[in-house]
Symmetry: C2
Subunit: 461 residues, 2 copies
């Protein structure tokens, strides 16, 4: 019986407990906050989640897919809102695949309640795992109401305590711990579009709405109650930035100029803007994730990423899936080779975490700027053609990330080759005209043939 502590009962901590409970373990989960199921949920700091393949796979494996489906709203594509008020739905997939808008709070509560039903999991609220003694394996548990601390010994401690992980802070003092935290120049602020009077949606329900404005953007995701959660992503400083928006008049003028079609939808805009925090966006990378068979990091604690690919939660859930797969592989007659498991886990996941961190940063430019760019849309058109005609040979990056289980690092490698190929296509003068006249099929097919060996998943591992 392995005695395991998990720091954090957030999405990844709760899911991890459900996975680990299937093995020969006894699990204590320590959560610094109070039980969210007994509280009103914080608003103003949670970007909506977009669940895609990787997230669903994990929910299915722990038996919760059916519990989540009813609260997940399919989004077929990006609904791009242009400055002139016109809109355009850009489907995510040519095969009807969707990503799903899910409330972080609802999802977390379902995971926690599932954990409560399992005898070998105990969750302790208002108890923070504040420190790990790496020599003894003892953890310090702080009662966040009284600040009293106690210590306790575990065989293994998982840090699932988020981007500002206390468990990781303990590792950070060890020699040769590689670590970086990098903030982007932009901040985000959560805002709100309430439902219609009869509880319906004021905009198209089944889409992720984007107002791309080159260096900044507004997005909106649907909620089950008819509302939309909106998020403004805008630079902290500069000509058009949060620092320039000091009064309700500033905000309304800014909105009138850039998002005029939303003003009527957001009656509380000026109030919410100043009531809700302006929050920063960080990428955290580290290596190793595992210390001495005693401590391991998972989810945001190991790899916090910016939210622009909708993969933060999906990546954390995939960490749990991969870990579980490796445990299965290295367990015989109820005995798990934990040493090997943890080494294999970090070996498998660190390259993928770095890849999705890069892709998420890159997707910000795509969302806020490129989705309104004719060349980008032309490329999408050619990619759709290639994917439909040669589904085995060409899969667009978005599909690899959201609608497949291809390793993130493989998707990134292939995407770099796709970019190289499209560099050659887009260098042709009047390319779109020629394409529309059917003059380029042969050229593009030949190019695809030349590149096809690079587009094979796993071919360069």
């Amino acid at each position: 019986m392995k005695h395991i502590a998990i720091a954090g009962s957030g999405l990844v901590g709760s899911l991890l407990a459900l996975y680990l409970a299937k093995h020969h373990t006894k699990i204590d989960v320590f959560e610094r906050r109070a039980d969210m199921r007994l509280q009103t949920v914080d608003r103003g700091r949670s970007i909506n989640l977009a669940m895609s393949y990787r997230g669903w796979r994990s929910l299915k494996e722990v038996g919760l897919e059916d519990a989540i489906r009813p609260i997940a709203i399919p989004m077929q594509g990006r609904m791009v809102h242009y400055l002139d008020g016109s809109t355009q739905l850009q489907p995510y997939s040519s095969e009807g695949e969707c990503i799903y808008s899910v409330s972080r709070g609802d999802l977390n509560q379902i995971l926690m309640s599932a954990a409560d039903k399992i005898p070998n999991i105990t969750t302790h609220f208002e108890q923070q795992c504040s420190h790990v003694n790496l020599k003894t394996g003892e953890i310090t548990i702080k009662n966040t109401q009284t600040n009293d601390t106690t210590t306790q010994q575990y065989d293994l401690v998982f840090g699932a305590d988020g981007a500002f992980s206390a468990v990781r802070a303990s590792l950070q003092r060890t020699d040769r711990f590689n670590y970086s935290q990098n903030y982007i120049e932009h901040a985000y602020k959560e805002l709100h579009i309430p439902p219609t009077e009869d509880g319906g949606w004021k905009m198209h329900k089944n889409a992720l709405h984007i107002w791309p404005r080159k260096n900044f953007m507004l997005i909106a995701l649907p909620n089950t109650d008819g509302s939309f959660t909106c998020t403004l992503f805008l630079a902290y400083k500069g000509d058009v930035s949060f620092e320039k928006l000091k009064t309700p008049t500033d905000v309304l003028q800014f909105w009138q100029q850039y998002f005029p079609d939303t003003i009527d939808l957001m009656p509380d805009l000026a109030h919410d803007f100043f009531a809700n925090p302006t929050s920063s966006l960080v990428t955290v990378r580290c290596n190793p994730w595992v210390f001495d068979n005693k401590v391991a990091l998972i989810g945001d604690a190991a790899h916090a990423i910016v939210p622009f690919y909708g993969q933060g939660m999906n990546a954390g859930f995939e960490d749990c899936h991969i870990l579980n797969t490796i445990i299965d592989e290295y367990t015989e007659a109820g005995i798990t080779e934990w040493d090997t498991v943890l080494q294999q886990y970090q070996h498998a996941r660190i390259p993928d975490a770095n890849a999705i961190a890069d892709l998420a940063l890159r997707n910000f430019v795509e969302m806020r700027d490129l989705v309104a760019d004719p060349q980008f849309l032309f490329r999408k058109k050619v990619e759709k053609y290639l994917h439909e005609k040669h589904p085995e040979q060409y899969t667009p990056l978005y599909d690899m990330i959201s609608f497949s289980y291809v390793r993130y690092s493989e998707a990134l490698r292939i995407a770099q080759k796709q970019d190289e190929m499209f560099g050659k296509i887009l260098a042709i003068s009047d390319v779109e005209e020629k394409w529309n006249e059917g003059l380029l099929y042969h050229f593009v097919e030949t190019l695809l043939h030349q590149y096809s060996e690079h587009f094979v998943v796993g071919s360069h591992q």
Copy 2:
């Protein structure tokens, strides 16, 4: 009167105190260690210092150049030791410029004693500035003998407390603090070549000795007592690595294979190898360096770099020089605009710190591998020609870094263009033969002319 605390009385902390004392300040320096002047100096963990232009400029400005010159041993070039026992002196400069081997301990003691003579500087030993309260500006001072702590208020706190800075750790908890620590795969170990019986040097005194062995190397710098301080740089893990050297026999066999000409020079090799620590090599970057007009980082605390360009101390000393220049610029009638000074300081120095960090990493490959590479040596020959013929138009990178005050970031920018230019030269088949026959002068001169606008210092700022 500005009341300033400096964390750390190492090289940069002590020098900084000397500079700041020239302005309207009262300075307390807190040093966690005991006064090194009353102790025997640690051995086994200090890579020798190579003082070059930037270091000397600062010493001159605080009036200590004459005190240091007598303990500085000029090194005219790299003495490359090939595997067959042959050696080759590669001069650092075609104009006879040298870098200087200086003992870290001796230099530090001279700086400390100079600070002791200045009434507005007080140094407190065994007192660590362990924390800065960023709201109040209060610092926590820990007596490192008793662990008792006291707090004290200062107008301004400088963190000159090295790569693992406690002052920086306080900043690291602030929002939007960008930070990274990255370790290379190699470790270092200090070793020793004692003097001859009559107190002379067993190898050429006025050189930096290198045994380049592709993925690893041994170096040796002369000391004033006739000894050499040697440092082995070798991977932690892998086929040829520290982990493979487990017994004195392993070490001697390794030495016999790769450094046979040094065995007789190092009578204590096997003992020293196991008595001295195996230490890691880290690059630390962060941004910002300044918090709220109250806290600033300097030296390794702001930018720890690997030692392969011999610029760690030189860069820290240049931080102090630049800061002092800015203070002069923004001081009128004894009143310093500290707010502006600190902002200008970080604005000026962060790009240069990042550049020298990159250059130091890159120079490891040069030292351990390229110095023994014919193509590299051919390039050096052409560079020497260009520099001698067109000193205004072409300066090799090493000269810009070590024998000029060109900004590191400018040197890096120019070096990238130099690399591009040499890519074109070295692409010519049988280039060395053609050069030696005098067939390429026109080609190279024309190329230089094409590139010359990129080689102007400050032209792209």
